[in-house]
Amino acid sequence: MKVIKQSVRPRPKVSLLLIDWSVRESFHLLHYLRKQDVDRDLFEVIIIEYYSRVSDAIRPFEDQVDSWLLLEMPEDCCYHKHLMYNAGIVAAQGDVCVICDSDAMIKPGFVRSIITEIELHPNTVLHIDEFRNMRKDLYPFRYPDFSEVTGVGCINNAGKKTRGVLEDTDPIHNRNYGACMCARRDDLIAIGGADEHIDYLGHICGPYEMTFRLVNSGHREIWHQTEFMYHTWHPGQAGEDNYLGPHDGRHISATALDALISGRTMPLMENESIKNLRLGTKQAIDVESFQVEPAHLISWNIDNFRKSGQWAVGSSSRKIWYGFIVDQTADGFVAYPRFLEHPNFSKLQDQFHVYASTEVELYARLTDLFVCRWRMVLRVVTLLTYVSLALRLTCLFLLRRWGRLTY
């Protein structure tokens, strides 16, 4: 790890963590941070670069950057955003960590809004949604007006708010959880920081993984109703040609959803430096001593994880077989129906747990459990689901075509 610059701000309230993995062409957020209506000492800006690139895009705004860290990961290692979040949390001196897009526009009251909201609602995790404009003529970024971004080409403008903030059904898919997330640094450390599990490698991940675990630990998730970010189109913004880990089909991590559903609060793989902070073994950790697990360099190597064949998109690393959770234990493998995870049914564990020494043997035993009638039922259900969803998609396609023809 290399520290290009280290913050000398006396006691900032907010630490903005901006990450890059040698891809960002513009850091224009820094331009808008210059125009904030709060004392500059109230917030610090930390840039975390995954590889070793010293980005030229930052140079014009260097005066705004307080800390600039290069993690110096090998070039053949796939990027892992959560590792950068953890480095940022360790480096942060502010009470509140803000993880946000570095290529978005913000209004002058942005930092003030965050400070006010977090002070008003202490036990919360705050998110700020983003207006998204798909006009390609705004690329390369040419500092348009805010009204231009929310005008023609904006895909989620519903009056003065984003559509996601107005709709309360399915927020996970309707709101942009990666745009801006703010939480207290102590709260983030208490839940073990960002999860460095291999499922979050590449594009499928984001700060919402921590949001879900904070919600599980009793924090309230709130979305700012008047403050927004403004994002213009750029190539590769939806993770095209990036590596995608397990997701639900709509680019939300299946492993993060699993954490939310199961009520888990701690990460599957905790960073060592964060762990030291959490357990208080070291009160203040020097940024330069931030630890990257040596095993990550092997498991995150692009060639290694492509060879391993464990990447069936849609299924997380937690294996599920026809409603049975398959876990590895010290003695072998165990499978149990999902409802047993609920405390009400825990006393029935002996009745439904299926044990085996190998995974193949376990699946063979589970298959034996299913009588012929049930196998048939599940096949019919699968077929019905497939056909009905294919029909729905065809109808939607034809309706859209018809609409275009008659318009």
């Binding site: 399915d170 939310l260 849609g314």
Partner: protein, 122 residues
């Protein structure tokens, strides 16, 4: 984005969404069948909250053919429906089963409910 890439993207999205829908429904059916087994003598009714009429029809068919135990199905499409049901304490039923898709769609509300009553997420 060229046409080929757009078609490929849509196809992958469809494939993954269908795979998830199928996995979710299979999980629900298998677990309901097993819950039915252990609750065969228990008179407390089960209430299943889902968000798809297609799944509701399939579950109803399985119940009619007595492959699954007796339960009440509630189809919740909007957040306000869920709040309305919660106000009536989900019709006073005892064991509430929600699918993981319903849970993630309305998690901000259901997370609090998880600590208040018998709520199983499948």
């Amino acid at each position: 984005m060229c046409l080929r890439k757009r078609i490929a993207k849509r196809w992958f999205q469809f494939r993954d969404e269908v795979a998830n829908a199928i996995r979710g429904l299979q999980l629900l059916i298998v677990n309901l069948a097993l819950i039915g087994k252990i609750r065969s003598t228990d008179l407390d009714p089960i209430i299943v909250v889902i968000d798809s009429w297609r799944e509701a029809i399939i579950l109803e068919l399985l119940r009619i053919t007595q492959l699954l135990p007796r339960y009440k199905i509630l189809v919740v499409r909007r957040a306000c429906d869920l709040h309305l049901l919660a106000k009536s304490n989900f019709l006073g039923e005892s064991l509430l089963i929600v699918t993981s898709r319903v849970f993630t769609k309305h998690y901000q509300f259901l997370v609090s409910l998880r600590h208040q009553r018998r709520l199983v997420v499948l």
